[in-house]
């Protein structure tokens, strides 16, 4: 199949939500490359329960964008077959707990096909997963499942925290020959930014320093980037100069950028919504300590959800890592200010 030349017209800067940025990325990919296919539960007529695929079926037709039967293993399994035949399927798992029925297909095939075949079959599949909480969702609608994917060799795991990255990273995912688990922070879906699309941000394997500081480094991704920035702001009121890094790509980890920051500040904490035990923060803390031990004046802290199942809406505020919890953690460091 040929790649149609349909360059996306640049728009004048407007206020864009993350869902709109994602929608536009899908649109531009569909327009430019006719091997791109979008399917999943309710992504067609409805445009997805979060409206990320809105209008795409109308624009590209039901042969490019369609509603599948309701079965996640079926969605991933058939996407594998399509990718083996040269397509670039972009599939949606409606909420992240609903990727679990597809776990075997993702872990045993999506992650392993390329290695299994000595690189002869690549699977350029993008698995979009809305994740994390803070939206008042009922049970199973607020899980942070990133650790399952990041601990699986063969997967690339991305998560944008803002509309510009959402656009740029999703386009990179779809263009990537390797499968990408693309995690969309639900609570940031309605975040607005003034942007002109298309936009190209930093490449997908790089973390980004989004606030500079000298006293400590806060690492965050997806929904907690906002928490980290707010904490840095609050820390400043306490006289602390805090650097904030948006990881963007969870696997691979950008050791270079993050270690440089940690060596500079000598203190770091990672913030995520998922439970702490065995969470992604464990990898971050372990590898930063291995690589920068002599530079550290305190252990890398993990400021996370508690080690309990994600609670129902009324208890979310007590579960989620807040600016307060971050500040309490900062306080635990033995500052010599």
């Amino acid at each position: 199949m040929s790649v149609e030349a349909a360059p996306a017209p640049a728009t004048a800067p407007t206020s864009v939500t993350m869902t709109k940025a994602l929608n536009r990325a899908l649109r531009d990919c569909l327009a430019e490359d006719d091997t791109v296919l979008v399917f999943g539960e309710d992504v067609g007529r409805l445009g997805g329960v979060f409206r990320v695929t809105e209008g795409l079926r109308a624009e590209f037709g039901a042969n490019r964008v369609w509603d599948s039967p309701l079965a996640e293993s079926g969605i991933i399994g058939t996407a594998i077959g399509m990718a083996m035949n040269g397509m670039r399927p972009v599939v949606e798992m409606q909420f992240d707990a609903y990727a679990y029925p597809a776990f075997e297909q993702i872990v045993s095939h999506v992650a392993k096909m390329r290695n299994r075949t000595k690189g002869r079959i690549s699977l350029p599949i993008t698995i979009r997963i809305p994740y994390a909480g803070d939206i008042g969702g009922v049970e199973h609608h607020s899980d942070s499942s990133e650790a399952y994917w990041t601990s699986t060799p063969g997967l690339t795991v991305l998560t944008p925290s803002n509309p510009a990255d959402a656009y740029s990273l999703l386009r990179e995912s779809i263009a990537s020959d390797d499968p990408v688990v693309f995690m969309e922070p639900k609570s940031r879906y309605w975040m607005k930014e003034t942007l002109s699309l298309p936009v190209t941000t930093a490449p997908m394997d790089r973390a980004q320093v989004i606030r500079e500081g000298t006293d400590a480094t806060l690492l965050a991704y997806g929904p907690t980037v906002r928490t980290a920035l707010d904490s840095a702001e609050a820390g400043a009121e306490h006289g602390l100069s805090i650097e904030v890094i948006d990881l963007r790509t969870l696997s691979p980890f950008d050791d270079e950028t993050v270690s440089a920051s940690v060596r500079k500040t000598s203190r770091a904490a990672i913030i995520h919504e998922a439970a702490q035990f065995g969470g992604y923060g464990a990898e971050v803390a372990a590898r930063l300590t291995e690589r920068n031990f002599t530079y550290l004046s305190a252990p890398i802290l993990r400021i996370t959800g508690f080690d309990v199942p994600y609670p129902s809406p009324k208890l979310e505020e007590f579960y989620l890592p807040t600016v307060e919890r971050v500040l309490d953690a900062l306080e635990s460091w033995d500052w010599e200010l």
């Binding site: 009922v138 609608h141 129902s312 309490d328």
Partner: protein, 373 residues
């Protein structure tokens, strides 16, 4: 070739949905597979419960629009399937409902506040499953079909006189778990009734994109299990079919699949916009099949129901609506420390430590609080 496989029950269900009372409130002449129409006394009870349920759904949907609940999936239009199937259960039987089946929970006797706790966001499951012989409503689709099968298997092994009933949707029928449940139940011959509420949509996805089969009840044949297609808006048919299937199960004759043809009159949940995928005419079309109207007509025609009866039941429904409003206007007391209380049966040191972190935060003892002071 001599291969030892059962050869029983090998047929496809009749095309015409089993129905006793037509949409016009008249008795039908549809073949009913040996089932018998319930007595007027039973039908009055079913009518009453359907009216209550409909008022309940309307009230909760209204309160959800007002923001008193986080989300709510209404079963308006599906009262016959919800009430007919649930009423057929004996107290010892167990029900395995989904998020859509608050009406069934209500019918099972679960108090309003306990049903709605999950949707208000108080706690995942608000009631005691043992008290009502009712499992927590499952949100991950089709998973509960296996729980119902396993529960029934253990009842069978223990020699208990109990069956299980699980609801599932047309969408959920596509999940692998549904297949595994049908198969385990039939191989193990468990007393399980699968009530498939085919309400024509899985959120926005219409039935014809969910299956290419003539009917979902056709699946049963592939498991050596009886399958029935029932007019899911005729509560008499649902009640009769489910009662017989439960009886079959308790008698040791294994599971049954019952497809109830019905229609979801409301949006999927309050956050859904059905205009994106279906038009008003279709919804309008289905009003003629309304389960309550037809039963009222029928019972009036037999003389079992009159204006007084209808009024009395309507008043009971209003009382229920008031109970719902009261329940939802009373905030539940939720202790944040309960976050940690129920995860394991034995205390874990690391969780106790985390509880202390939260308690310190709540006591305002932290750095942040100090800064704000």
């Amino acid at each position: 070739m001599t291969i030892d496989v059962p050869t029983t029950g090998r047929s496809l269900p009749q095309l015409q949905p089993i129905s006793f009372i037509g949409a016009d409130g008249q008795p039908t002449d549809t073949p009913t597979e040996g089932l018998r129409i319930p007595s007027d006394a039973t039908l009055i009870g079913l009518y009453r419960q359907m009216v209550l349920v409909r008022r309940f759904e309307a009230q909760v949907t209204h309160l959800t629009r007002q923001g008193r609940l986080a989300t709510y999936p209404s079963a308006a239009g599906q009262e016959a399937a919800e009430v007919g199937a649930t009423t057929a259960l004996a107290p010892n039987d167990w029900l395995f409902p989904t998020y859509r089946d608050s009406a069934a929970l209500l019918t099972r006797g679960v108090p309003v506040a306990e049903i709605l706790a999950a949707f208000r966001g108080d706690w995942h499951c608000g009631f005691d499953p043992h008290e009502y012989h009712t499992s927590p409503a499952a949100t991950p689709l089709a998973t509960q079909t296996l729980h119902a099968t396993g529960f029934a298997m253990s009842a069978k092994l223990k020699g208990e006189d109990a069956a299980t009933l699980t609801f599932l949707g047309d969408g959920a029928s596509s999940e692998g778990d549904t297949h595994e449940a049908f198969n385990f139940a039939s191989v193990w011959q468990t007393p399980t009734v699968f009530v498939l509420q085919n309400n024509q949509y899985a959120i926005s996805t219409p039935l014809r994109e969910q299956t290419n089969a003539t009917m979902l009840a056709d699946r049963a044949a592939g498991y050596g299990m009886p399958g029935l297609r029932v007019d899911g808006n005729d509560v008499a048919a649902v009640f009769a079919a489910v009662s017989a299937a439960l009886e079959r199960g308790r008698g040791g004759d294994g599971p049954t699949l019952i497809e109830c043809l019905t229609y979801r009159m409301e949006s999927h949940t309050n956050s859904d916009d059905p205009t994106k995928y279906r038009d008003a005419e279709e919804v309008e079309h289905w009003t003629q099949f309304d389960p309550i109207n037809r039963l009222e007509k029928y019972l009036r025609s037999t003389g079992a129901l009159d204006d007084d009866g209808v009024t009395e039941i309507a008043e009971a429904a209003e009382t229920l609506a008031e109970t719902v409003r009261d329940a939802m206007n009373t905030e539940a007391e939720i202790d944040p420390r309960e976050l940690f209380a129920h995860v394991y049966s034995r205390p874990r040191t690391a969780i106790v430590e985390q509880q202390q972190v939260l308690e310190a935060e709540l006591a305002g003892a932290g750095f942040a609080a100090a800064g704000q002071a």
